[in-house]
């Protein structure tokens, strides 16, 4: 049985940048225990230790050629931002 304590939930919430109420932390703790108890079943599967292989579907990036004209999509994308200033997305000071 997997046990999750409240501190783990709090740590995960901080890492995930999600503010949670005390009640929700408690209910998430319970849910996560039940879910991890269920998915923990896979520990019983006979997986052999081997290095992961690339599958047939690979993430192949396109050639970095023929760039579009600078600024062609700026307005389209900036229009979606909640706060903007002079052609930039605006955020609060970080340091």
């Amino acid at each position: 049985m997997t046990t999750i304590d409240l501190e783990t939930v709090e740590k995960l919430a901080t890492l995930s940048r999600i503010a949670l109420s005390p009640e929700e932390k408690a209910s998430l703790r319970k849910d996560m225990e039940a879910i991890l108890g269920y998915v923990g079943e896979i520990q019983k599967a006979g997986v052999k230790e081997e290095s992961p292989k690339a599958g047939i579907v690979r993430n192949v990036l396109r050639e970095d050629v023929n760039p579009h004209e600078s600024g062609a999509y700026t307005e389209d994308l900036l229009r979606a931002a909640p706060k903007r200033e002079d052609g930039y997305v605006k955020v609060k000071k970080i340091l």
């Binding site: 995960l12 999600i18 949670l20 849910d31 896979i42 599967a45 052999k48």
Partner: protein
């Protein structure tokens, strides 16, 4: 002429439009009227577009100019996680409040070229996380066959829209069964193509190694028409495939063999009515001349557990982009960190928060090997089981869902019970194979006739086998 929406298919609608029996404007109008009547109760649509008549007029012009194709003027509903430039799109989440798509999804671009008519965007579980559409921030979608029950999910709005004759067909997305399970609950056809067959560009990402867009339709032929119109390699999605990549028909026409993983389909928790219907469906296939063969898939019992590790891990990563800075909702705090915490805390619904935390857990150092890495290993084992099975059978058959549509609220407080609704559907996403869910009859439950469904899976790229079997089973012209 009066338009018989109930029996209309894409092909029939096209023939009528060609003959001039009705116009695209009249056809769209007939659907709008139905939506007007039924959507208040069922909540299939989050928004009905205000320019439907103009889109239909443009389609009529294509008919006049003899430039119309099979999909021209066909009214479609689109799941609210597929981008249409200039229109609102929210993934049924508050965190995308006010967001307007800045580009067209590749599927939308292709459908626009065909001249389809987009009727509106349909309700779903928030960010496609759920099996009942109860996780929408905008209320549940009810099942057209019994409004006390769920329509399924996460593409519940798309399935209900087609089932209530509120659209001729719809697009959904399927990460673990989100096209097939609601299709089964609503008595329509749901199709998840081979991973990579349809571009994911412009589909909001949940589990990127699992997600596929798929059609929800009334007939298998309609699903095939839409699939062919939107499939193909796309430079904007590097995981998309040239659809010929896997195809290997090395023999002439042969009698198809259908495999049934009995140990799995008869496992605990499968509803008796579902099992009885599944057995009857097997008999129907035998009568149609197909050979039924019992098969073993030794690791399939792990597929749901494997899925509920890989999917939250990928979703947790994908959803980090919703930060209150680039688009959608912004909640103001004292500093940037607080902006993030508040925006994401208030913007994401409960199930989304649950899966983000779960994903962060299985990816965190100390648990990564025990969960995420292990799940990837199990994924390989399940893939191996399927490869082996497809050496002796052409298709694998299971029920689509373990129960008929359940009651609204029945499973909302028990996430594990809710996840079990995906038991038969997740494997196709884990393995990446195509899967087709078709209606297989009904069962009387508390005085209401509820649809049941079965699901065919085929090897990678063998959509053709699924269409062939599906049409034969449903009695459609091949």
């Amino acid at each position: 002429m009066a338009i018989d929406l109930k029996n209309l298919t894409i092909k029939k609608a096209h023939d009528h439009l060609i003959k001039g029996d009705f116009t695209a404007v009249e056809l769209a109008g007939a659907y709008l009227k139905n939506i007007e009547e039924k959507n208040k109760d069922l909540n299939a649509y989050l928004e009905v577009f205000d320019d439907v008549a103009e889109q239909a007029k443009a389609a009529d012009l294509l008919f006049k100019e003899k430039k119309a194709g099979l999909l021209t003027g066909i009214p479609l509903a689109i799941k609210d996680n597929i981008l249409i430039k200039g229109r609102k799109v929210s993934a049924a989440s508050k965190i995308l409040e006010g967001y307007v798509a800045s580009y067209d999804a590749t599927t939308i671009e292709k459908l626009k070229k065909e001249g389809v008519v987009f009727l509106g965007r349909t309700n779903m579980d928030e960010f496609a996380m759920g099996g009942s559409t109860e996780n929408s921030a905008f209320g549940v979608t009810k099942n057209p066959h019994d409004s006390s029950r769920v329509a399924g999910g996460s593409s519940g709005g798309s399935a209900a829209a087609v089932a209530m004759d509120g659209a001729l067909a719809a697009l959904g997305s399927d990460t673990g069964g989100s096209v097939r399970e609601p299709a089964s609950f609503c008595g329509v056809v749901g199709f998840k193509p081979t991973y990579g067959a349809i571009s994911r560009s412009g589909l909001m990402a949940m589990g990127s190694s699992l997600d596929q867009i798929g059609p929800i339709t009334k007939t298998v032929s309609d699903a095939e028409i839409i699939f062919k119109a939107i499939a193909g390699k796309d430079p904007k999605d590097s995981t998309s495939l040239d659809t010929t990549i896997y195809r290997s028909e090395n023999g002439q026409e042969k009698k198809r063999i259908i495999g049934v993983p009995r140990a799995f389909t008869e496992s605990e928790g499968i509803d008796k009515r579902v099992l009885a219907n599944f057995q009857a469906s097997i008999e129907r296939l035998k009568k149609l001349g197909y050979e039924i063969k019992d098969i073993e898939l030794p690791n399939i019992g792990y597929s749901l557990a494997c899925y509920y590790i890989i999917m939250p891990a990928e979703a947790s990563t994908n959803l980090s982009r919703f930060d209150g800075v680039k688009f959608g909702l912004h909640k103001d705090g004292k500093n940037l960190l607080e902006d993030y915490l508040l925006t994401r805390g208030e913007g994401f619904g409960k199930e989304v928060r649950r899966r983000i935390l779960l994903g962060a857990y299985v990816l965190s150092s100390g648990y990564y090997d025990a969960y995420y890495n292990k799940a990837n290993g199990v994924r390989e084992l399940i893939r191996g089981d399927f490869t082996k099975a497809f050496e002796t059978v052409d298709a694998i058959l299971t029920p689509t869902a373990p129960t008929p549509a359940f009651k609204i609220g029945e499973k909302t407080n028990d996430p594990v019970a809710m996840y079990l609704a995906d038991i038969f559907t997740v494997t196709a996403n884990i393995v990446g194979v195509p899967a087709l869910a078709v209606p297989s009859g009904t069962s009387m439950v508390e005085g209401k006739s509820l649809p049941l469904g079965i699901q065919f899976m085929a090897s990678h790229g063998r959509e053709d086998i699924l269409f062939e079997l599906g049409k034969a089973f449903c009695g459609e012209e091949v």
